[in-house]
Each structure stands twice: as C-alpha cells, then as structure tokens.
C-alpha cells in the first residue's frame, strides 16, 4: 500500500470505525508492521497538558489496562526491598521484555517473510526473531537480558514467544523482579488507525500466582528515525539517588 493509500484508508476508517481489512499488507499478505514505533514520551505526545502536539485520536483497539503484578507473598516482600537505586536501567543495562517496549524512545520493526527484526534506540537493544510456526527455541540457550524470541502469525496477529531470560531485569516499575523461569508471549496487532496494539502475557511460576498481562499502544512518532543512544557516555545519576532501604 502506498503512503497516500494508507492515509486514505485511515481517513475512511476514522470516519466509520468499521474497517478491519484496511491495514497495509506485505506482498505475502501479512500485516505490514514495518516502520518506526513508540509507546510514549514527550517526543511522541508532546509536553503533557500543554497542547504542543495535536491530540492523538482515541485508538480503535486500546491495549489492556496494566494491573499490579500478582506476586506470591514472599516475592511481594522481596519486591519491596528494592529502590530506584537498584534499577538495572540506571546502570544502562538492557531493559528486558516487556519493559523495553514502554521506554519513551522509538524502535524500528523490519519485517521479512522469514524473520522480524526489532532495533530499539533505548540501550541499543536488538532482536532477531525467526518466524517459526512451532515456536521452537534453540536448545543451547544461556540466560540473557533480552531472552530468545521466536514468532508465528496467528491470523493477522504476530505472536512472539520469548524465553531464556536471566533474572536481572525488571518487568516494569521499581522492584518488579522475576526469575529465570520468566516466559513472555507478546502479541502485535496492526490496527486500521495505523497503531499497533501490543500485549504481553507474562508467566513466572516461581514468583507470580498467575499470568500478568500488560500492554502498550504503539504509534508512529513523527519525523523520527532510530538513532544512537550510548547510555554509558555520561551516566552521572547513580551516585545521586537519594533512597532509603
């Protein structure tokens, strides 16, 4: 679909709200997720409350509301022992999944029939995600910050299965630790209003009582390309965190 055709489709969809089929597609008929996306932040939405950017229209397919993490009692207790000074991101370490999706920086999806690539500006993270209908991971995984991702198409939704994590990242806010048994299933659904509804279902039987679902609405940030972010260049904040244990 050309750029003008895409925008025409969006205009028609906005007028009717009944436009399931009008999304851009690749030559093999899959939804075309390619491009630069971002879930939030001042460079996407402008200064909060000041109207520095035109207000975004309501999304046609909003993501799920984020609930508190359903920690087991011992894990809830441990979670509260952490402070912002313990945040791995404060030390410029990879943010893990799903947390990296909510960073206020852009990322780019590059889509081929056999592989999806996601390059994140934040922390220079990258993911090479083979399309693999059986969602089979390699059998030689060693725990890592971003885990191992494989994907399949479920109709028009890209489903990404991620495992092989270390236990050093946080899932969202302060103290949201997990174990190496973390397993994340992400769903990327391209909508007729040129947004992506991102949903992540997080399971970790060692620390959670049930699956935890979180999500984000991804929009295309205007005039934006993914650029360099060398987080360790001048990282002065850590010694100045004023927190009480």
């Amino acid at each position: 679909m050309t750029g003008s055709a895409r925008y025409l489709a969006i205009a028609v969809c906005s007028a009717t709200l009944t436009c399931a089929a009008t999304i851009p597609r690749t030559v093999d008929g899959k939804p075309d997720l390619s491009g630069v996306w971002q879930s939030g932040g001042v460079s996407l939405y402008g200064e909060p409350g000041l109207g520095t950017r035109p207000a975004a229209p309501p999304p046609v397919n909003p993501p799920p509301k984020r609930e508190p993490l359903p920690y087991q009692p011992w894990a809830e207790t441990r979670s509260k022992t952490f402070t912002p000074a313990d945040d791995p991101d404060l030390r410029c370490l990879l943010a893990g999944i799903p947390r990296i999706t909510s960073m206020p920086m852009p990322f780019e999806i590059i889509q081929t029939p056999k592989k999806i690539v996601i390059t994140y500006e934040s922390y220079h993270a990258f993911r090479l995600i083979p399309i693999n209908d059986k969602l089979q991971h390699p059998n030689d995984l060693v725990p890592t910050w971003m885990g191992d991702s494989v994907a399949r198409w479920d109709g028009d939704t890209l489903v990404v299965d991620v495992t092989g994590f270390n236990d050093k990242t946080w899932l969202s806010g302060t103290g949201s630790f997990h174990s190496e048994d973390l397993h994340v299933v992400e769903r990327f659904q391209l909508n007729s209003d040129d947004t992506i509804t991102y949903t992540a279902t997080v399971t970790d039987p060692k620390v959670l009582t049930k699956p935890w679902v979180t999500g984000a609405l991804l929009r295309r940030p205007p005039n934006t390309r993914v650029e360099e972010y060398e987080c360790n260049e001048n990282n002065q904040d850590a010694p100045h965190m004023d927190v009480k244990k």
Binding site: G40, P48, P59, V60, P84, D89
Partner: protein, 132 residues
C-alpha cells in the same frame, strides 16, 4: 453495530488516558530530585555536555553573598531534545540564560532542568515536569 461501536469508543478513550501517561527511562526522577522544589536561577553558561543518557549544561550563578556558584543542569537525552525542537546549538557558552529547575535531593549543586529562557526571550523545555 451502533452499540458495539459506542462501547469500543468508550474503551478507546480510557485507553488513550492510560497510554498518554508519562513514561520514564533510565532513572527515577523522584529518587534524585525534589519534584516540588522548583527554583529559578539566572546565570552564564560555562560548559555544555550534549551527552547520553542526559544532557548537562553548567551555569555560573551569583548567590546572595555575591559568590559565584556553578550549577549543573540535567535535561532530556539529546535525541529527545532534538525531536522536541531543542538543539545543541541553542546552548552557547557565555550566554546568559534563566533556568527553572528542580533541586537535587542530596543538596548538591545539581538541578533537573525544566525550562530555559534564552537571551532573546524565547523559552524551551529541557526536561520533564517534576510532578511526573
């Protein structure tokens, strides 16, 4: 079809409110700065660090006793500033600027910059509002 669409729109509006909430990256604002202690300082730019994960610029400010104190002002990352219209060239060594900023919790001469007023009177946001 009308009723589902209305419901869909209602849900969509709720979703927008949630998605528009400010997201933080790299470090907690509240753990480092006093979000309600907004000060206004006027001084001369002595150094600019257009760096990640945050920019810093330094200003010489005369205190109540007439002594010059050099303050460090932290801002958004360079890419975020560029995308919001604040460029590296806006900060010139030797320029006199007025800065609104939040004091550091550890009482050092560090500030979280919010707004910069440039010599021509124009203003730009350098960092987030403390309430975030």
């Amino acid at each position: 079809m009308k009723i589902p669409n209305r419901n869909k729109l209602l849900v969509a509006c709720v979703g927008l409110v949630l998605s528009a909430m400010p997201a933080l990256a790299h470090h907690s604002f509240a753990a480092e700065y006093e979000s309600k202690d907004l000060v206004t300082l006027t001084g001369v730019i002595t150094k600019v660090e257009w760096t990640n994960p945050h920019i810093y610029f330094y200003i010489d400010v005369k205190d109540a006793s007439g002594n010059i104190v050099n303050w460090a002002v932290e801002g958004y990352p360079p890419n975020t500033l560029k995308r919001t219209g604040f460029t590296r060239d806006d900060l010139k060594i030797g320029d006199k600027v007025t800065v609104t900023a939040y004091r550091a919790k550890d009482s050092t001469t560090r500030l979280a910059g919010r707004e910069v007023t440039f010599p021509d009177g124009s203003k730009k946001f350098a960092g987030p509002a403390g309430a975030q």
